[in-house]
Symmetry: C2
Subunit: 245 residues, 2 copies
């Protein structure tokens, strides 16, 4: 039996996603839970796979892991304080969570008096298929398509990026350029030049803590599930708001 | 110049409050920030003090630290991901945050079908002054007064405890007994017997993750302040709710 779990985590408390000896990583934590519970004996045999290898500091409420197992996979995560389960689905034996219909990342920006009109105009340039060579870390694969970029304005501005897949550091590099435009430190033309590879401009790398993998789609739905532990955490954050004002 | 900062933290990511070599503690993190920034050179000289030594796993949005310093104490915490500042006040040279007018702790319980009416009745027993000998860890000081216990019902039940000071493990021991009553595993009479020291019953210790130091009062007010970083974190939790349903 192969199962897919939609999971979440606070990226700010981990040393990154990918397993590394002696480091506190998301993948490492998941594998520890799976093994300790006896649900999975050997990670390779169980064909453990995940949807997104989020950068260090990036959070998620819609990353997906999949593995073969017998037993109650939900129960195993019940007491985890660091990994939350938000849904599950029984999947095909060949299912690899990497291949989804779409992923949605959200980037949060606290408005410090930015030129938001320009930021919205600038970010739209990245929609569609481009060679993101100057906006990625990895140089092997640079061509990708961003299906949609939506902005919702407010004191906290939200930038939603939708695509089948994203490249390494891609959103954070895009957002760094958008922030530079917002601060009036560069022009939309500079971004265009860089996206068209006419001139390489180093816009920097936007903070990972403001980025979250917020939605993922497949051709099936997850059965929703929320741990009481997470509902309480959420309620606490709700209450905090009342006490802060 | 002596300053008081109202601070918050997610207790679940720390190894407890009090400084311990090689451990990731709240106090250790604060001192690291103060020293690294150069704001405080020597902790003793600066008379660094705090209001509450929360148990491992317990969170806070209203703990208070105080120290002597020159310079901008708010700026120093601006980039901290683990310690949030919610307010500040310039205080008297002799101010010790431990001596407050009142503290309020909130304990969250996810209703798994408990007998809430009985729980509310049971918790009221603890109001007023008692010898909490059978409801504390430390045996040196056992007499204390709880000014008020309020319960707000819902799918997540909230128990608010208000007092000038609390004893070690006191709320978690009280809540353990309340949970036992809610589950029908013991009677209100058993709690009474234990509080009156007629019979020592071990009710256990309720989980620390559901407890938060949510408010603190002095005879002065804090000037409110919220880091953009925290506002974003709060907004993320708000958004999560939409995506979960």
């Amino acid at each position: 039996m192969r199962i897919a779990l939609k999971i979440g985590y606070d990226g700010t408390i981990f040393d990154g996603f990918a397993r590394q000896k002696g480091k506190n990583t998301v993948e490492g934590e998941i594998i520890k839970i799976l093994k300790k519970s006896g649900l999975v004996k050997d990670i390779k045999d169980a064909r453990f796979q995940y949807a997104a290898r989020t950068d260090k500091g990036v959070s998620a409420i819609a990353n997906v892991i999949s593995f073969n197992c017998k037993g109650n996979a939900l129960r195993v995560f019940e007491n985890s304080k660091k990994i939350w389960v938000f849904g599950y689905a029984y999947v095909d034996e060949n299912f690899n969570p990497r291949y989804c219909k779409s992923k949605r990342y959200r980037y949060y920006v606290y408005d410090m008096g930015y030129d938001i009109k320009k930021m919205v105009e600038a970010v739209k340039i990245f929609e569609g298929q481009h060679d993101f060579a100057y906006f990625v870390k990895d140089r092997k694969r640079t061509i990708a398509k961003i299906d949609k970029i939506e902005v919702s304005e407010g004191k906290i501005i939200k930038f939603d990026f939708e695509a089948k897949f994203f490249l390494w550091n891609q959103i954070r590099r895009i957002m760094a350029s958008i922030l530079e435009v917002g601060k009036g430190r560069c022009e939309i033309e500079d971004i265009k030049k860089s996206l068209e590879k006419k001139e390489r401009i180093n816009f920097g790398l936007a903070e990972p803590e403001n980025l979250i993998l917020i939605d993922i789609r497949y051709d099936f739905d997850f059965i929703p599930f929320t741990q009481p532990r997470f509902l309480i955490k959420n309620e606490i954050f709700n209450d905090i708001k009342c006490f802060l004002n």
